[in-house]
Every structure is written in C-alpha cells, then in structure tokens.
C-alpha cells in the first residue's frame, strides 16, 4: 500500500521531467537553445513577483474548470461542455456586476452565485437529456458550447450593452480585485478568486469523498443498476452531477468576469479555459488535490510561455507540446509504474 502511495506521487513528477526533457530535445533538434528557452519559461512563470502573481491568476480558473471536468468524470459523465459553462458563467457574473450597485458583501457573492447558477443551467440541460432520454452527454455538451458562445455574444450586444462589443466594467463592489495582491505582485492581476478556487477544491473533495451525496454520485457513476437497486435515484443523481459540474465551471467564468477582466466582451471563439480543464483534471487524476497541482503546472506553463518568443526566440507552441507530452506520460503511468517496479525488483 505504501509503495502505491509513493508511486502515485512519483509518477506525475517523472511525467513532468520526461515532458521537459522531450521539450529540450525538440528545441535542440529544431535549432533553438533549450537552456535559454527554459530560462525564459521559468522567468515567465516565477521570475519575479509579477509573474508569480500572473501565474496564480491564470491557474485560478484552471482549478475550477479542472474540478468541473473531474466532478462529472468521477460520477461517470464526460462533460466536454465546461467551455460553454464558463462562457455563460462569465457573462452572468458580469451582468450582475454591472446591472446593480450593492454593498460588496452582497454584490460579490451574488454575482458568483448567479455565475454558478448559469453554469449549472448549462450543465442541467445535458444532464436532464441524459437522464430522461438517455441522450449521450458528449454530443449535447459539445452543442451547448456553441450555443453558449453565440447566445452570450448576442446578449452582450443587445442586452448588456447598446450594440457594443464590450460591457462596462463591473462595479468595484462585485470585483474580485485585490489591492493587496496587486501591491505585493507588482500590479499583476492576481485576485481574490484564488481563495474561491481553493474553497471549491475543498468542497469537491469533501462532497465526493466524505458525504452521503458523494457516495451516491460515485455509486451511480460506477454502476447505475446497483445504485438503483440500493434505492438511489439514478436520474436525479445524473442531473445533479452535471449541475454541480456546471456550477464549478460557471464560477470559473466568474473568476474571469469579476477578477481577471472585470468585463465581458464579444468572443470570436472559445476561451480555451474549459477545454484546458479537461487536461487539468486528467493530469490531476480527477482528484481535488491533484487538480490543484496540475492547475498550477498548467497555469505556470501558459503564462511562462509568453516569455519564450521574446526572450529566447522559441515559438510558444513548444509549451503546448510539452503539456501534451506530460499528459501522455501521465496517461501511460502503467508503463512508468512497470519500469519502476522493475527497478525496484532488480535493486533488491
């Protein structure tokens, strides 16, 4: 058992190292200097307080979208619709943020809750269709992404604004901005959302692992029939799972809408935060703690990558490649485990 624990920690670390090594080889082969490249990457991630702040800012929504994907996954559902749920959550949060002026202790929570509700609604539809009509959630969530994109674009232009592409900034009472963080990180956009993301991770862990509801959700995820036999309401749990997943995603949207941007604008394409959430969840082993680490890795790499072209002349796509390779290595943990066991045996 102990060995297993230790392996579970070791494997992601090995995967990251292997990914980075492969990245270095690719740089070498294509004529870039890997040391300069990684220097630039590292500097862009943690090089100074500003970049640390930006990294935290970037990983905040990743935690939430990672949780959203993982929550559904753990209950037997594949939510590709996190992207759309983020978009509607973002819109809803900003809408509350600009529509009223309220005391901060009401306004901010209200905006976040409405964002969660919007995301939940976007998750409810595929959940309901799955439960009632047995429609495959993967297709419905893909379609819901496009619907979210076009509908919010329309609403921004026609409801939130008078034919304009960008909304007003949210009232300060609804903003997640933190002067404290801005000051210690040299004006990065790190905001209070990180606390919300951490709380969300705790909630997911607690809900899934410690509560009766989580027990039900997991049971339904593994075996519908046994759950039904045990008196659980299968349909209700399927819907609930999608709703909770969507709510996490909606809150991720609020992080962007109330923290990073403080406004919402017409989008010409997807944000990518939701799709990246799939990778974050999977690297994080679909567990809350793992997701915190993988979101940090992801956020850091994404922010750090921006520094690579200018400092080292390396195209920042390299980071995408490294991320992909890390995912591969994590996925192939069976293989790494096997090799490690081999080493262990021979060592004896």
């Amino acid at each position: 058992m102990n060995l297993n624990r230790y392996m579970n920690l070791l494997i992601p670390v090995i995967a990251v190292i292997l990914g980075i090594l492969c990245g270095a080889i690719i740089m070498l082969v294509s004529g870039y200097n890997p040391i300069a490249g990684y220097n630039a990457l590292w500097y862009g991630m943690f090089g100074d307080s500003y970049y640390i702040g930006e990294t935290v800012r970037q990983l905040t929504p990743y935690i939430l979208t990672g949780l959203a994907v993982a929550f559904a996954y753990r209950t037997g559902l594949f939510n590709i619709g996190v992207e759309g749920q983020v978009i509607v959550g973002w819109f809803a949060a900003v809408w509350v943020g600009v529509a009223f002026e309220l005391p901060a202790f009401i306004h901010l929570p209200l905006a976040i809750i409405v964002a969660a509700l919007a995301g939940a609604l976007w998750g409810f539809v595929p959940g309901l269709l799955k439960a009632r009509f047995k429609v495959h959630e993967v297709i419905v969530t893909i379609m819901m992404n496009y619907i979210a994109l076009h509908v919010t674009n329309y609403l921004i232009r026609n409801v939130l604004t008078d034919n304009s592409d960008t909304s007003e900034k949210v009232y300060p009472s609804a903003s997640l901005r933190s002067e404290f963080f801005e000051n210690i990180t040299d004006y990065s956009r790190m905001h209070n959302g990180i606390f919300i993301a951490l709380i969300a991770a705790f909630i997911m862990w607690f809900l899934l692992e410690k509560t009766t509801k989580g027990f039900e959700l997991r049971a339904v995820g593994f075996n519908h029939d046994a759950a039904h036999y045990a008196g659980m309401n299968v349909n209700r749990n399927i819907i609930l799972s999608m709703v909770i997943s969507g709510a996490f995603a909606g809150v991720a949207g609020a992080m962007e809408g109330l923290g990073t941007f403080e406004y919402v604008s017409v989008k010409s394409g997807f944000t990518g935060i939701g799709f990246d959430g799939i990778a974050v969840a999977l690297i994080g082993g679909n567990a809350a703690i793992g997701i915190l680490f993988s979101a940090a890795l992801f956020g850091g790499l994404k922010v750090g990558a921006l520094n690579m072209p200018s400092e080292a002349g390396v195209p920042n796509e390299l980071v995408e490649i490294i991320i992909a390779l890390i995912i591969f290595f994590v996925a192939s943990s069976y293989f790494i485990r096997w090799i490690l066991l081999r080493f262990k045996k021979e060592g004896k």
Partner: protein, 507 residues
C-alpha cells in the same frame, strides 16, 4: 498410462495470492474428469492456464504425452482444447452463428459467407444434439441455449478435449438434464472432458474420476466409483459437511407479504407476471419453483420497486408498497439478495467495505447530517466480513477483486444484517461450493426462525425442496400450485413447472 492432458506441478501466482500451488491434473482419453474445490480454490485459474489465458510460473503441461507451451488460446485451439467458460464468452450483439465462427470464418470472396456458416453450425448442432437457432441474437436466447452455443464454439474448432467451468450453475433442472445427455454424447464421439462443478450429485452421476483441490493445492485424484459425496465434500472442505439442512417445522404467523392480482410487464411491454397472487407469512420460507423466464425476475423486481407494476397490489405487513421507490421499500423492511450480483448487488469498483452499506450509508451511525463516518462503516464491514466468512485481503479491497462466492457472501451478510421483515433471496447459492451453500441455507433458516418471512427463488429443485416450508410453482407468470415440500417429489415439481396442471385444468 496414456493421458490426453497432463498438468504437472502447476503454480500460478497473482499479486498477493498463490492461486495454484503445485497442482497436478491428469486426464485420460474418453473420460469425464471432475475438478472439485471450494470457491476460490483455484479451479478456474488452473483451467485458464491450460487454455493459454494465463502463463504458469512453474510446472509443465503435456498434451497426448508431448510437452507443450500454451501461450495463447490459439495454441490451445490448435491442440484441440476447447473451453466453456464460467462466465460466458459470448458477444451479446452477435448472432449465434457469428459467435461460433468468430476467428475462423468461412469466406466467400472477401466477405463472410453467413449462409455457409449457418449450414455448418446446423450440421454440428444436429450431430451432437445441441439445439440452437443459428440466426438468433445471443442477447435474445435463453441461458441454456447460450451454453450450447459455447459448446458449439469448441466443437466447431474441432476440440477433442473440452473444459466445462461450472456449466450447470446457471441452468434449470431441465437444462441440466439435457447437458448431461450432451456430455455423454460427446464422450461417445471420443472426446475427453474436464468438468468443474460444485454439485456432488452431478459428479457422482456422470464423472469417471475426480481431482480435488483446496486453497490452491492439489489434494488428490479419486475414482468416482470408489467414493461417495460425503467423502468428496470433506476432502474439498477439509472437514465434515452435512447435506440435509436441519430445520424444525415452521411456525408461521401473520402475512408479511401479500401479493394480489399482480401484473408486471417486461421492457417490451409483454406481461410477464399475470394476475399473480401469493402471500408469505412471518416465520416461513416460501420457495418459488419454476423454469427460468416464467416471470420470476419481473416478480422480484416488482416487489423491490425496480420495475413498475402494471396493476395489482403488493403489501408488506398490510402496508401497500406497490410502485414505491426502491429506497422506501427497503426501509419498509425488504431485503433483497439479487439474482445478478455483478449488475445489481455490488458496485464492483467500490471497496468491499463501502459495499456493505450500499443501502444504509445515509443512516446513523454510518453518517450524520450527510457526512459519512468511515470508521463505523469499516468497523461494520469488518464484523460482517468476519461473521459471514467473506475471504478478502482487507475491507478496502475493491469488490471486483473478490471471487464470486465471496462476493455473494458479502451481499448476503449485508442483507441479512439489516434484519428485514421480508428477505428475498434470488438464487442465493448460484455458483457456490457446498460449504458456502450450507452456510447460506442455515442463515436463511435462521431468519425464518427469528420470525421473518423469506421468499426464495431458485432453479435448483434440491435447494427449493430442502429449504422451503411451502413451494409455490410459477408458470407463465402465474402461481399454478402451492405444494408441501415434504409431500412432493422432484418429478411432481418438474411436471408442475412444465405447466401440466394448467393444461389439465384447461381441458
């Protein structure tokens, strides 16, 4: 002596367990050789080694005296070894013919010649008396026919040595009779057979010799002619086993379960239970005898709330429970040992410990205000596992990793422990060894003696007759007769199950 198969000193390990340790099995040509052992003794493992699914760590296999290295089923097939697996290896969405020819398809041009294949299947099935419908989808045919398909698969490939892993566990008495006939035909055709079964009666009836294994070790081989069931049982379990289920006469009291004019339809909206009326009293075990497919499953599902009732009423202690949610029904006092333990009984990917509270997790003391208390859950699981002799490395082992018998014991422990007023036991001993069967029967009787009502559904007439206080015979969704087990015979029951009574009345 010339053996067709010799497995010498076989050892097979799984992580954390030695499934086979130094087992030797020698099969003569033309004999039916039984392999006997408790659940988890390592029988299936040994046969999977012979069939090339597993590689042994140690030992040697000889076929017709020649040493062979069977690294995959293809090689086994080529050597003339065919296997009918404990869990059927059939593709449900394929037709009977497609299942049989898979991997060895007759061709016309580049496509499969289904016509030719069906012809061949027909030929073999007629030759060995294995009636199947070559064009039917496997998911639509009876378990008995599925098994015949499995046998045909091996014969189609020209198997000379056939391994049957618990073939009778899933069959009705009629089907078992047919199977035994088939085995005899196969021997006549010059095949050799290895038969795994827990049913000593069957061994005595058809087998020539029997090899016994216990906890992964070979105990020895005996001639059936020189032994008796008692000896076999004690060899297998390592102690004396009693067969007659001792029980006092029942002292039934009030009606616990009352079913009136019940109609239940299956998924295709065909009524499977037809105006069924039945009652079960506290302090008695009512056995339902019937051929598979006569509405037993639908009846159970209706009582437990897993299937909607079309009309009629079901009452528990005079409280109507018709079409209530499964949870409500469970809480009202119904326990259910389901027929299909993998589908309904367990969440295979949960630890066995958590499976022990599958219906009670939301109640005190297992949880409080919606938060689980893992300590009490696992304490409970530990005590149940001990009490019901569930063999598992730990309470946190996934249910998937347990052998079928131990999975079943876990379910029974869970259900009995809830002490329900009505316990429904659907084929509770299917696939279990005699030791386990004895244990389970005594548990059911204990429930009865504690004043609970027990409804037992089984295709095993022995079990029904031994355990029940009253036997209700079901035929085409109706209870056609209720008989006293002490006054009836297998013959009489068999006739009732075949619908004789109804036909007589119809005349």
């Amino acid at each position: 002596m010339n053996y067709v198969i010799e497995m010498l000193n076989i050892r097979k390990e799984f992580p954390g367990i030695i499934a086979n340790d130094n087992i030797t099995l020698q099969v003569k040509k033309g004999e039916i050789h039984a392999l006997l052992g408790e659940n988890g003794a390592g029988k299936s493992t040994l046969m999977n080694v012979l069939f090339g699914l597993y590689q042994p760590e140690k030992g040697e296999i000889r076929v017709n005296g020649k040493k062979v290295n069977i690294t995959n089923p293809n090689i086994a097939n080529d050597l003339g070894i065919g296997m009918v697996h404990q869990h059927f290896m059939l593709v449900n969405t394929f037709t009977v013919t497609e299942n049989i020819i898979l991997g060895n398809e007759p061709k016309k041009g580049i496509s499969v010649s289904i016509k030719e294949a069906e012809k061949q299947v027909k030929e073999i099935s007629e030759r060995y008396g294995l009636a199947v419908d070559p064009t039917a989808k496997v998911s639509d045919i009876s378990v008995g026919m599925q098994q015949r398909v499995e046998i045909l698969k091996t014969l189609y490939r020209g198997a000379e040595i056939l391994i049957f892993d618990e073939p009778t566990a899933v069959l009705t008495p009629q089907e078992i009779k047919e199977l035994i006939q088939i085995l005899k035909t196969l021997i006549k055709e010059g095949k050799s057979i290895i038969l795994i079964t827990h049913k000593l009666k069957e061994i005595m009836e058809v087998c020539d010799r029997v090899t016994v294994i216990r906890k992964g070790e070979g105990i020895g081989t005996v001639d059936v002619a020189n032994t008796n069931p008692n000896e076999l049982a004690s060899l297998m379990v390592g102690r004396e086993v009693s067969f007659k289920t001792d029980k006092t006469t029942a002292k039934p009291k009030d009606d616990v379960l009352t079913i009136t004019d019940l109609i239940v339809k299956d998924n295709r909206q065909v009524p499977m239970v037809n105006s069924l009326t039945l009652s079960v009293r506290s302090g008695e075990i009512v056995g339902i005898a019937g051929v598979d497919g006569n509405g037993q499953s639908e009846l159970i599902e209706a009582i437990t709330g897993l299937r909607k009732v079309a009309s009629g009423t079901i009452k528990l202690n005079n409280k109507e429970i018709t079409n209530m949610h499964p949870r409500k029904i469970t809480e009202t006092g119904v326990g259910h040992i389901p027929q299909d333990r993998h589908k309904h009984g367990l969440v295979l990917d949960f630890p066995i410990g958590e499976n022990m509270v599958l219906q009670t997790y939301y109640k005190q003391p297992f949880s409080k205000i919606g938060v689980l208390n893992f300590k009490t859950i696992y304490d409970k699981a530990k005590s149940l596992i001990k009490e019901f002799d569930v063999r598992t490395p730990s309470t946190s082992t996934l249910a998937r990793a347990l052998s079928g018998g131990n999975q079943q014991k876990a379910i029974i422990g869970r259900e009995v422990d809830r002490n329900p007023d009505l316990l429904i036991a659907a084929q509770p001993t299917r696939g279990l060894d005699v030791g386990a069967i004895e244990f389970i029967h005594s548990r059911l009787i204990e429930q009865r003696d504690n004043g609970k009502a027990v409804l037992l559904i089984s295709f095993e007439l022995d079990e029904i007759i031994n355990v029940s206080d009253r036997i209700a015979v079901i035929y085409e969704g109706e209870i056609v007769d209720i008989v006293d087990p002490k006054q009836t015979t297998e013959q009489e029951l068999g006739l009732l199950m075949a619908g004789s009574k109804r036909q007589k009345e119809g005349n």
